[in-house]
């Protein structure tokens, strides 16, 4: 990105001034190097989002921002209903509520060393992963509606996981206002066999070890110490969410002219919050969020079963669960006034600071855990939301931070450069066991096909979005 087009506000904060159709400025949080490496399309997309009706404060981009559809991936934007604000199916994306959850295991690296291969094989056998895989649960119409309304709470009621898990999930595992009737029959049909499946692409289940601690107090609050083994799961709302995205993108594109909305890019498809279509989408999208939460809850149960088979009596409490493709109704202080806003985070993680009312008491001092996935074979990170509620520290980007590394090269280029089998062997030699049904899938997800997530979390930390707490190194990776 041409850095001359931006006004530097701070070492890690860059403003794209309001021009043309923009209603608010764009703000990019990143180091000079990260901004310079971003595609020009990111600037264009940040500006396009800034032109949507009812946008509040600014159109934000996180340090891992890259070229998405409509919104940049790593984009954050909030809209006010009373100001004619919109909800955008493009601003949430196809994989509604895709996110990461991390489980503690109570085990140390030395405990699993002798069992790593067996654990990898058992996890791979239990976790349905990859194209065409199906889960063990079939939902009838009544069960589907209950799942879409109940999210992880439904899953716990059905016997997947523990009631204690719910306190460590955003919205306590169940977002209110889900409307199963706003979800098409096609979307429900697509989900029928996909409950408790991991998916493919960049989705994974990893066994990881804490390799470094940066914030001792927050690490203690999160239950993390060096050499601890944890499990992280990255996946979303599966076919249901994908179909909701498909259905509503089309409907919003077609309805936009009549609603008086000019779309510079049809992928920005949106509808006024105070319209029937906007409300219907919110109901469907929230059902999609609950589906993702239920799905990660079932996968948690399967992972716990695999661990129990290798380590009888092992407990895997949930550290936290974050979603990074969502639109959520939240209260934020803007220009000294509290406002109800609909915050879109497209490839961005909520990062509420210490003292925030949404946090469980055990994390109140540390701030919200922000779980940042790496690429296969590279580090993942746990950060903590920075800005304290009621403190002088300004809440940044409506309490948001980065979500991952972002690709450095296309899938096509990755398959030209690497072979899946060779990568698996190379990583095994480094003590990282990959299990995947597809060698081409492994090649497309090669570690070097992604940007350096370390630079992204450094920028998040130094920009005041989220503080570094712990780095995690992979030991086992189940890829779809």
């Amino acid at each position: 990105m041409d850095i001359k087009q931006l006004k530097q506000r701070g070492e890690f904060e860059w403003e794209l001034p309001t021009t043309g159709r923009m209603r608010v400025p764009g703000v990019i949080f990143a180091s000079r190097e990260l901004v310079a490496a971003m595609d020009e399309k990111v600037r264009e997309q940040v500006a396009n989002v800034a032109g949507l009706p009812g946008i509040v404060a600014a159109s934000y981009a996180m340090p891992d921002a890259h070229w998405g559809y409509g919104f940049p991936i790593g984009g954050v934007a909030a809209f006010a209903a009373e100001a004619g604000g919109v909800v955008s199916a493009g601003g949430v994306g196809f994989d509604i509520s895709c996110g990461v959850r991390t489980l503690l295991t109570g085990l140390k690296r030395a405990d699993i060393a002798a069992h790593q291969a067996r654990l990898a094989d058992l996890l791979y056998a239990r976790i349905p992963a990859g194209v065409g895989s199906t889960g063990g649960i079939r939902l009838d119409a009544v069960g589907m509606a209950a799942m879409l309304q109940g999210g992880a709470r439904w899953a716990v009621r059905e016997g997947y996981g523990l009631a204690a898990d719910l306190a460590h999930i955003e919205e306590h595992g169940c977002v209110a206002g889900a409307d199963p009737a706003a979800v098409s029959e096609q979307a429900k049909k697509r989900q029928r066999d996909e409950m408790g499946t991991l998916g493919s692409g960049n989705h994974y289940l990893e066994v990881q070890v804490v390799s470094e601690i940066f914030d001792a107090a927050a690490a203690r609050a999160y239950g993390l110490a060096v050499d601890d083994v944890v499990v992280s799961i990255h996946c979303g709302s599966r076919g249901l969410g994908h179909q909701i995205g498909t259905d509503y993108l089309r409907e919003m594109v077609v309805a936009a002219p009549a609603a008086g909305i000019l779309l510079p890019d049809r992928e920005l498809a949106c509808a006024p919050l105070q319209s029937a279509l906007g409300q219907r989408y919110l109901g469907a999208m929230r059902a999609g969020i609950n589906c993702a939460l239920a799905n990660r809850q079932i996968l948690t149960h399967l992972a716990r079963q695999a661990f129990a088979a290798v380590f009888p009596g092992a407990h895997l409490p949930l550290l936290y669960d974050v979603s990074h493709n969502t639109c959520k109704e939240e209260t934020h202080t803007v220009d000294g006034h509290k406002r109800r806003l609909f915050v879109h985070r497209k490839g961005a993680t909520r990062a509420f600071g210490p003292g925030h009312a949404e946090l469980p008491p055990e994390y109140a001092q540390a701030g919200q855990p922000v779980l940042v996935g790496g690429s296969m074979g590279t580090s993942s990170w746990i950060l903590a939301g920075s800005a304290a509620a009621g403190s002088n520290a300004e809440e940044r980007a409506f309490g948001s931070a980065c979500h991952g590394a972002g690709r450095a090269m296309s899938r096509h280029e990755a398959t030209r450069r690497w072979q899946g089998r060779a990568l698996i062997d190379e990583l095994a030699a480094r003590g990282i066991l990959i299990r995947s049904p597809s060698t081409r899938g492994v090649a497309e997800e090669a570690p070097l096909a992604y940007k350096d997530v370390g630079a992204v979390v450094d920028a998040s930390d130094r920009a005041g979005l989220a503080r570094k707490v712990a780095r995690l190194a992979p030991l086992v990776c189940i890829k779809g």
Partner: protein, 141 residues
Amino acid sequence: MGAAMKWETFSHEADVGVRGVGSTMAEAFAGAATALTAAICDPAKVGAGETAKIECAAPDDELLLVDWLNALVFEMATRRMLFSRFAIEIEDRHLRATAWGEPVDVARHQPAAEVKGASFCALAVRQRPDGQWLAQCIVDV
């Protein structure tokens, strides 16, 4: 893209573009559908023993391409199939098609990633100056 090649995938930062070219819009749509399969696996490895009938209609040509590709995504997802051959008729933005394919065989097809949906990004359906039809968009994987 050579004269004989009627489809290709192209790069997008996070995802994959699919493109078909043909002497008619229907041929270009068939090429885009083959490219959709190529985003997942090698289309040459996909048999043609089973069929799916697809019908869709849209207010413009570009929406029709998105609808066509999304209909295939839906069939692939719900029937756990991959498709390799397509016969398409388009009349007044109304598409009727037969797709031939087979159930996913993970060991043989080595599918890299499922397609979540066809997007409006880099979406184009048009007749080029050389008279050939082009149909393309980015798909989310």
